[in-house]
């Protein structure tokens, strides 16, 4: 699956990105959102860490993710004359999915798998993007993700033994496949929903147009009964 994704990133994406600034900028902004969410997740997990040295490491990890987010935002803004939509997804703390230490273990395993995936993808994006200033941002982020892979693994194995850590990583991989499936299904659902809504709009639109116009017509200030 990762192999096909790499091929896709290196072949199809460059064509769309090079032909549409809007698509490129929107995509970069989505990376910014993902990095910003990682930073937030790390800050949120900080509440479970007491050791000041580990807290310092985790805080610096958050700093890197936030820096990546701001760099992706910066380059995306240089591509458009109009400001693109800023996605504001609902925050869902990974760290709170399990109770106590298990929460931190799950979070670190999730972060570790995420960093591994992103490390692979950023290399492909840098090769395929076709704009040097954007490629630089991907390469810089890729370099940092390499450090995060080992940091998350070190923190994970400091909490549980290596065997359990591998099991947790496998569990997270299963979960990510399930999440990808959910995203795909949602995409299918969205398309069907859009077709249904368009039909309703085109059927009822001509009938409702006049009453709606009448309702929106200026009738002066409206008095309100006490």
């Amino acid at each position: 699956m990762a192999f096909f994704r790499k091929i896709l990133i290196r072949t199809v994406l460059p064509i769309t990105w090079r032909h549409s600034r809007h698509i490129l900028a929107t995509r970069l902004l989505r990376f910014a959102v993902t990095e910003s969410d990682s930073g937030w997740q790390i800050l949120n997990a900080l509440q479970a860490v007491d050791d000041p040295k580990v807290r310092a490491m985790v805080l610096q990890h958050a700093l890197e993710e936030i820096h990546h987010a701001s760099e992706f935002t910066r380059v995306s803004k240089t591509w458009l004359s109009e400001l693109p939509a800023r996605p504001l997804p609902e925050r869902d703390p990974l760290f709170e999915m399990e109770e106590g230490v298990d929460g931190l273990v799950f979070f670190l395993a999730y972060a570790h798998v995420g960093e591994l995936d992103v490390f692979d993808q950023f290399a492909s994006y840098a090769a395929g993007v076709g704009a040097p200033e954007v490629a630089d941002v991907f390469l810089e982020a890729k370099l940092d993700e390499y450090g995060h892979i080992s940091l998350t693994w070190t923190l994970l194995t400091s909490l549980v033994d290596e065997k359990r850590a591998r099991r947790e990583v496998l569990k997270v991989r299963g979960r990510r496949v399930y999440e990808a499936w959910l995203r795909f299904s949602k995409g299918i659902g969205d398309v069907s929903f859009a077709v249904l809504l368009s039909t309703l709009y085109l059927v009822f639109g001509p009938l409702l147009w006049l009453p709606a116009r009448a309702r929106l017509r200026w009738r002066g200030p409206q008095g309100v009964a006490a």
Binding site: K53, A56, P221
Partner: protein
Amino acid sequence: MNVLGISANAQDASASLVRDGHLIASAHEEGFTRQRHDPNFPRFAIAYCLEVADLAPHEVDAIAFFEEPHARFTRVLTQSFGGFPATLPTFLATMKDWLGTRLWAGNSISARLDVHPDKIAYVPRHISQATQAFVSSPYERAAVLVVDSAGAWSSTALFTASFEDGRLCLQEHEQIPYPHSLGLVQAVFTALLGFRVHDEEACLQDLAAYGEPIYTGRIRKILSPEQDGTYRVDPSFFRFDRLEVPPCSRPWTHKLTDLVGAPRDARRPLPFSTLSGPSSRAPDPEDQRYADIARSLQEVIGECLVGLCRRLRETSGLDRLCLTGPLILDPALRRRIQQESGFTSIHVPVDPGEGGCSAGAALYLDAQKRPRTHQNGTVTPFLGPAFDETRDHAALAHADPRFWQRFRRRGCRPVRDVSLEIAQAGEPEALTGIVADDLAAGRIVGWFQGRAESGPTALGHRAILVDPGRLHSVRRLLDKVTGLPAYRPCTLLLRQDDAGGLLEEVPPRTARWMPALIPVLAEHRARLAPALDTEGRARVVICSPHDSPILHRLLDAFGERTGVPALLNTGLNERDLPMAGSPADALLVFMRTEMDTIVTNGLLARKVWT
């Protein structure tokens, strides 16, 4: 009795908790999620409010939602079909949002908090806003003007409000219906001038200070103030349906660009500046046109608001006014209303925007369920969360500032030769002494103290402070810390007792939470120049010893050192982010930017450059 208020799914999600008639907690979701104007369900803000009251969700007596979703949905649907067939793309986007989540707000609250649906009540949006404005005022009886963008069907509402026999009585006299909305017109011009809608309206307002009102005649063709004090909008210039779908792209028709010219490219920097000295470039006619449009719009909106206030004064016969709605955040408009409306006393709530609706909805529901006495405007602007900073500072002691180099804002001074000095200040006198020395030496100070502001304005609890007399520091603040454009003046923080010696007028009572535009005395203008607009006026915030005792003491200590007890104040955040919600957020700003000192409650960290 405990009533939880919730505002969500629109622009600024927030939660508030009213206990026995008193607002005890109020917070925006953005402070917890690091997403500016986060519109999502405020789960963290709710958790915070419940923690303050030490309650589980099922122990709350009632939950108030800030608007009636079905009423607003009807309006959105009518707007979509009224623009058939051009509105198909916005219809698809809005319906996905509405049918997916927004229409089922009550069910969603019930499921997420695991409370019975009967506990949840919808409070009409303008009632929420009017209640928030009136209950926080010191008046027993007042006229209330709500100037909104678009809620359900009305965009502007005129009320009278009073407390009679312990009951809140709100009487709505008139409303001006959608699409005749001052807020929507301002939103369209925000987009036209290249700013982010529902976010950077303040940029448009600040830009107005550099323009001349030469487009007022043309703008009156679009937005015409009527003789009777009302106003009328010509919708043929606008595509308001596009304002429902982020990023609110091109919400105008060609008629508008034919009238006032082409839109501004968002990437084009504006060369205006509050700071003297060489600018990056001189304003060209195109830049000046943007400023002139902004000024003309402000002028016409001001006329409309003054007309509405006079009309309300005539119909209500009252001489006290409560003003609310996002438009009221513009200090120039508030000043004009103060001077021209004829009302003798004007009150503005802590958060007149959408975020404040959660407090209004909760207060309204509380007032409906039990008799109450009026609270005489004792509402504090600091109802957000407080934190223990010890663990973060302990972590900072193990951090290596050289490591931060690669992750800093572009253009910041290298931190290769910097070391950190971390200290516990102990007594407030010691802390304020060190910080006042730093400020007087031109250092930029991050200040994180006590409970957070519950409104959108930085009032000194989550602030970045600078000596206004140090031009170099102010430039560093704008370029290397906040990233704010230089045409946006920071607020000027001072004590009530010092206002007489610095300002031409006495600041109003509301300056404790809402910056008031006041001319500075001529002899102080040179020193306070970075805080002044083109007419020598500053946006003044008054620091009260009751709300912020340590900050009050800091102003005193700073005054002793410099002779002018006033500080430049802006929110503790980088551009496009909300104000720091936790000590860790504040430390990230310190690590990423050229901020020199950070104070989190009693702890202090300083960058020492070698």
